[in-house]
Structure formats: structure tokens, C-alpha cells
């Protein structure tokens, strides 16, 4: 089957990756920290109302993002226009941004729940957010790196 390109392939790759990264982090958060380790609590008495709303919206959005990004990926493969580096970079970016939002805004500012209920939660917070920062940097490098040899052939995402 021949490649069926479209001018939207670059942003399509990018957004598919971002949504997948976001959904994956949310899934790992739920599966590992809530269900397996029981570090996170389902509900924390100090949760603010805005925290509850933010968590609900992000939780719903992450379910949707995971599913829609995989359908987008299937579509990219079918048309043979998948750009692996851009997609994986975008996935790192989406994962990092969501984890940073979760770590700084949801855990700290909105006090949704803490990473773990121990005395020195500060160290957990540092590791959590530094990891998020690393993912953002890796993501940015991968997404921007791809563009150099192609001489700006693709559209801006």
C-alpha cells in the first residue's frame, strides 16, 4: 500500500503522541500508585473542591486521550505516515507535562492527595517533579531534533 500523506500528518503525529503520553502516565499513576502500591489515597480529607474537579476532569480526559491516541496511531500506521521520533518525543512531552501538573498543582496546590503518606514526602515530590522535567526535556529534544535534517519540510506543530 502506498503512503497516503496529508499536510496534517505532522501535527497529527504530534497530538497522537501527546495524548498517548498523557494517558499512559495517568494509567501508570492509577495502576501502580493507587492499586498496586496503595501509596496514593482514593480521597484525602484535605482535598479542596477545585482539586476534586481538576482530578475528575483530568481522569476523564486521560481515559479519552488514551483511546483516541491509539486510534490515531492505528490511522497513521495504516497510511504509513507514522513519524516515530516525533511521536515518541511528543509522548514524552505529554507525559512530562501531565506529571508536572499532577505533582505541582494537584498534589501541592490543590492538595488532592500526596505521593506517599510518610514524614519526608518532600523527597518523593522532588523525585516526582524532576522526573517530569526530564521527560519534558527528552520530549522537546526528540520533537525538535527531527526537524533539522528535514529542512523545515513539515508543518509547524
Amino acid at each position: 500500500m502506498e503512503k497516503r500523506k496529508s499536510s496534517h500528518d505532522a501535527p497529527f503525529n504530534f497530538w497522537s503522541g501527546v495524548l498517548f503520553g498523557l494517558g499512559l502516565v495517568a494509567f501508570i499513576d492509577e495502576a501502580v500508585f493507587h492499586q498496586l502500591l496503595h501509596w496514593h489515597h482514593f480521597y484525602d480529607k484535605s482535598t479542596t473542591n477545585i482539586g476534586l474537579i481538576s482530578d475528575g476532569l483530568f481522569h476523564a480526559f486521560s481515559w479519552f486521550a488514551t483511546v483516541v491516541s491509539l486510534f490515531m496511531l492505528a490511522d497513521l500506521w495504516r497510511r504509513k505516515v507514522w513519524n516515530g521520533k516525533r511521536w515518541i518525543g511528543a509522548a514524552f512531552l505529554g507525559a512530562g507535562v501531565f506529571q508536572l501538573y499532577d505533582g505541582l498543582i494537584q498534589h501541592k496546590l490543590m492538595r488532592l492527595h500526596q505521593i506517599r503518606y510518610v514524614e519526608d514526602v518532600f523527597y518523593y515530590d522532588v523525585v516526582w517533579n524532576v522526573l517530569a522535567g526530564c521527560m519534558i526535556i527528552i520530549g522537546l529534544v526528540l520533537v525538535l531534533l527531527k526537524k533539522a535534517p528535514k529542512k523545515g519540510k513539515e508543518g509547524e506543530a
Binding site: 496529508s6 480521597y43 474537579i53 476523564a60 481515559w63 479519552f64 483511546v67
Partner: protein, 271 residues
């Protein structure tokens, strides 16, 4: 339900009616399938299965062992609502009863039904924004006011609430996935946003219930019920998300190679 208070004659008649109704629904569907198969392409067996399991889900939500337990246990009550308001409606929509009905009626009646489907009322009641309002709004009203405890004192209120839960779940599913004839279609973007909003409202409410038990429910029971609502709701909503995306991407297949993707997906792509 306190049917026992109403005297034995009425009680046994109502009980009979309760069991005859679901069996009648399944029976008439099977007869319609039989008639339809004589004239048209064979009706999918999966749809028959969806209909039978769907009818059972709905009726397990209002009668039988789980519904009996639901008077005393909030967790069991939540399970009945998942069956009656989410799983049952989803399966019934997937069974496409309106399509089946249209295959079996005369041309005049078919015109009448499709005129009804095209009416303003149906457009209004199956609009995603309306259905999330009916669905989430109804649930918030039920669990954040004293409606929940009042429902157990007045049988008519109990009946009205449960009919609402079912119908709201049904029109919500109808507004999200297009299996039946749907004259008033809305964009994928609008349905995606509405579905995310509905899932969020459901999740937020279940955590709210976890922290603030409805009147007359003890804390432990409310916590278990809230978690069941949260995870159970997620599972069924996930199926709706997958079906919605599947339909969208299948409909795109014919149009690959042009710019149909981005506007339909709403992924913020600009020219």
C-alpha cells in the same frame, strides 16, 4: 420496594407483571428478528445477545436479589444503578431495537416513526448537552440532596427516580454512539467533549459521595458505594469511548488523504 404492604392479591399480580414484562420484551424482540430474517439480511446474533443481557441487566437493577439488598446497602444500590443506568442502556442501544422495529412495520408506520425520530423533541432530547444534563444533573440531585432518603419513604418517588435513571442512561448512550437511525447527528468534537464532561461529573460525584455520605447511609457503606460508582462507571464509559472513536475512525477511512482528520478530531490543528 415495599410491595408487601399492599395486600396479597395486588402483590402477586404485580410480581407476575414484573416477571412477564422482561420476558415479553425478549420474546417480542425474538419474534421481530424471526420476521426480519424472512425478508432481509440475517439479523446479527450479537445484537440478540446484547438485547437479552441488556433486558436482564435493567431488570436486575429493579428487582431480584441485588435490588432487594439495595434497600439496606448503599453499595448494592450503586450496583443496581450501574446495571439500570449504564450497562443495561448500553446493551439495549447496541441491540438496535428501533432499527429492528423499522424493518417490521408497514411503510406508513415506518414513515410515522421516522417522522417522530426527525421531530424537534427527539432532536432536543438526544442532544449530547441535554443528555449529560439529564444524566449527571439527575445523579447530583439524587445524592447531594435528601432525595435519596425520601426515595425510600415514597414508593412513587422510588419508581420515578428509577425510570429517570434508566431513560437518562438510554438517551445518553444514544446521543454518543450511532447505531440506530440518527437523523440529528452532532460532531465528533461535541460528543467527545460531552462524554469527557459526563465522565468527569460521574467521577467527581463518586468521590463526593465517598467523602459526604448521603443522609441515612453510614460512612463505610458510602465509601464502598462511591468506589464502586467510580471504577464501575469508568469501565462502562471506557466502552462508550472506544465505540465512539471506532465509529469516528471507521467513517474517516473513506476520506483518507485529505484534511478531514483534524477538524473532526478537534485536536486544535490550524491551517
Amino acid at each position: 420496594m415495599h410491595i408487601h404492604d399492599m395486600g396479597t392479591g395486588l402483590e402477586s399480580f404485580l410480581a407476575l407483571l414484573c416477571y412477564a414484562f422482561p420476558l415479553g420484551l425478549i420474546g417480542s424482540y425474538l419474534i421481530a428478528v424471526y420476521w426480519s430474517n424472512q425478508k432481509y439480511k440475517k439479523w446479527p446474533v450479537t445484537r440478540i445477545a446484547f438485547w437479552i443481557i441488556g433486558v436482564f441487566s435493567v431488570f436486575l437493577g429493579v428487582m431480584g436479589p441485588i435490588a432487594e439488598k439495595a434497600h439496606a446497602s448503599f453499595q448494592a444500590h450503586m450496583l443496581t444503578h450501574l446495571l439500570l443506568g449504564m450497562l443495561g442502556p448500553l446493551l439495549l442501544v447496541l441491540a438496535a431495537p428501533v432499527t429492528l422495529l423499522l424493518r417490521n412495520v408497514s411503510v406508513e408506520n415506518g414513515r410515522l416513526i421516522s417522522k417522530l425520530l426527525r421531530s424537534f423533541y427527539v432532536q432536543w432530547i438526544t442532544h449530547p448537552l441535554m443528555t449529560i444534563f439529564l444524566n449527571a444533573g439527575g445523579l447530583w440531585l439524587l445524592y447531594t440532596t435528601n432525595l435519596y432518603s425520601a426515595m425510600h419513604s415514597f414508593i412513587w418517588l422510588f419508581v420515578v427516580v428509577h425510570i429517570h435513571v434508566f431513560l437518562a442512561g438510554y438517551v445518553f448512550t444514544l446521543s454518543m454512539i450511532y447505531i440506530e437511525p440518527t437523523p440529528h447527528r452532532t460532531s465528533f468534537r461535541l460528543r467527545a467533549i460531552a462524554l469527557i464532561a459526563a465522565m468527569a461529573a460521574h467521577g467527581i460525584l463518586s468521590k463526593w459521595i465517598y467523602a459526604n455520605p448521603p443522609a441515612g447511609v453510614d460512612a463505610m457503606d458510602a465509601q464502598q458505594g462511591g468506589m464502586l460508582m467510580y471504577y464501575g462507571g469508568d469501565m462502562i464509559d471506557l466502552i462508550i469511548v472506544i465505540l465512539l472513536c471506532y465509529q469516528q475512525f471507521r467513517s474517516n477511512r473513506q476520506a483518507v488523504g485529505n484534511s478531514v482528520y483534524s477538524p473532526a478530531l478537534g485536536n486544535e490543528v490550524r491551517e
